[in-house]
């Protein structure tokens, strides 16, 4: 598998490429098959844009759900069945637009630009004109400028918050391993941050799966929907 981050654009694009490369159709079975490949890709590409990590993880979670359906069909509830159908559908629609965007790209490459006339003051007025607006004075200008500065500061804060939210699978794995140095087992819920987000749950889950695969931990769950215990090997 040889996909370069420059060559795709978001998780669905990556997924469509993987499906195309493996010459699969878009359906449950092929999506389940591709789940591991997709998760591996996220893990091995720490340079995925931090703002997009959440979207990649959401897709990974859906693929894992689909995979678990192919393995353990009786565990899948009706809503999840819907979610899977919805996702395959989304992917097909996305693919339609991806194909349309390739045609648009070709049209752009033909460079058949149209041009409007550039602004030409002389065409509209022959004389030198000055038409001051009644609703502007020094005080208003100062107030407007202050408002603009204030707005820039707010934007700065929002962008900082976005970055804070991005948590990586690697960090979560490390957190689990560190905790297990002190104790022999811990509950899955204790991994989650104070403010539980969907992304945090997905990342923690993927980190746990990865450690299972590396045989660093085993995982126990009494019954469906009961708390999951992570145990040091």
């Amino acid at each position: 598998m040889n996909i370069n981050t420059e060559q795709f654009n978001g998780p669905l694009d990556l997924l469509v490429q993987m499906i195309d490369d493996d010459k699969l159709d878009i359906n449950d079975v092929s999506l389940g098959k591709i789940a591991d490949q997709f998760v591996n890709y996220i893990k091995n590409n720490p340079d995925i844009n931090p703002e997009e990590v959440a979207d990649f993880l959401a897709v990974a979670a859906k693929l894992l759900l689909i995979k678990s359906k192919t393995l353990l069909p009786y565990l899948i509830r009706e809503e999840e069945e819907e979610e899977i159908k919805d996702f395959a559908n989304q992917l097909k629609i996305y693919k339609d637009f991806l194909e349309a965007s390739k045609k648009i790209e070709e049209i752009l490459e033909e460079r058949k630009f149209m041009y409007a006339r550039e602004f030409n003051k002389k065409m509209l007025t022959e004389n030198v004109v000055f038409y001051p607006p009644k609703n502007v004075n020094k005080t208003i200008l100062r107030a407007a400028f202050k408002e603009i500065i204030g707005r820039l500061k707010i934007e700065e804060k929002i962008e900082e918050n976005n970055l804070e939210k991005a948590v990586s699978i690697e960090d979560k794995m490390l957190k689990i391993q560190n905790l297990l140095k002190k104790i022999n087992s811990l509950s899955f819920n204790s991994l989650l941050e104070e403010q539980i987000t969907k992304i945090d749950i997905i990342v923690s889950f993927l980190a746990m799966l990865e450690l299972m695969k590396q045989r660093s931990v085993i995982v126990e769950q009494g019954e469906l929907f009961e708390s999951i215990q992570i145990i040091k090997v």
Partner: protein
């Protein structure tokens, strides 16, 4: 030619800039209503398409403008010394494609199709004047459309002239999907 069409043609020529049908109605005055203006605009666009000359009238969701046809790009480029390459990144083209075929489209709908957060890219496209936003006060939602500048890059008078437009824009499966019914 009808008086109304003549007046619109004059305005488009002299202003050189995009004009909204409502603005045109105001400028013509005489109790003319926007519906008549829109009808006259559509006829004008048809006239220009049939003539297939060196000038076209292009139309976006909100405005119309007069521009040179896409066939004479080289001559005009030399004349105005334009060096635009019109190069856009893949994510920009993908986003603009969806907005062109499905506009006016809400951000959440766009994100449903692309499966990715689109705030940043939308901000960038608006900054570059390739997409525009319009607030729908009833639905309390912002809707995005492509601009005249993007159509000029494509050399297309309106989105309806894009390949496969009908199939992608009036698709019941996509409608249902975006409405969350699937």
């Amino acid at each position: 030619m009808l008086e109304l069409k003549k007046q619109i043609e004059s305005l488009l020529f002299i202003s050189g800039k995009p004009l909204a049908p409502k603005k045109i109605a105001e400028l013509i005055g005489d109790k003319v209503n926007v519906k008549d203006i829109n009808k006259a605009i559509d006829e004008l666009i048809k006239d220009y398409d049939e003539r297939a000359g060196g000038i076209k009238i292009i139309k976006s969701a909100s405005q119309i403008q007069m521009a040179t046809s896409g066939e004479n790009t080289e001559v005009i480029r030399n004349f105005i010394k334009d060096e635009t390459t019109g190069e856009l990144t893949k994510p920009s083209i993908e986003t603009l494609t969806i907005i062109a075929y499905r506009g006016p489209i809400a951000k959440y709908e766009l994100e449903r199709i692309r499966g990715i957060n689109c705030s940043l890219i939308l901000r960038n496209l608006i900054l570059r004047g390739l997409a525009e936003e319009k607030k729908d006060n009833k639905k309390r939602e912002i809707y995005y459309s492509v601009t005249l500048d993007f159509l000029k890059y494509l050399g297309v008078s309106r989105v309806e002239d894009l390949p496969d437009y009908d199939r992608l824009s009036k698709n019941k499966d996509i409608d249902k999907f975006l409405a969350g019914e699937i």
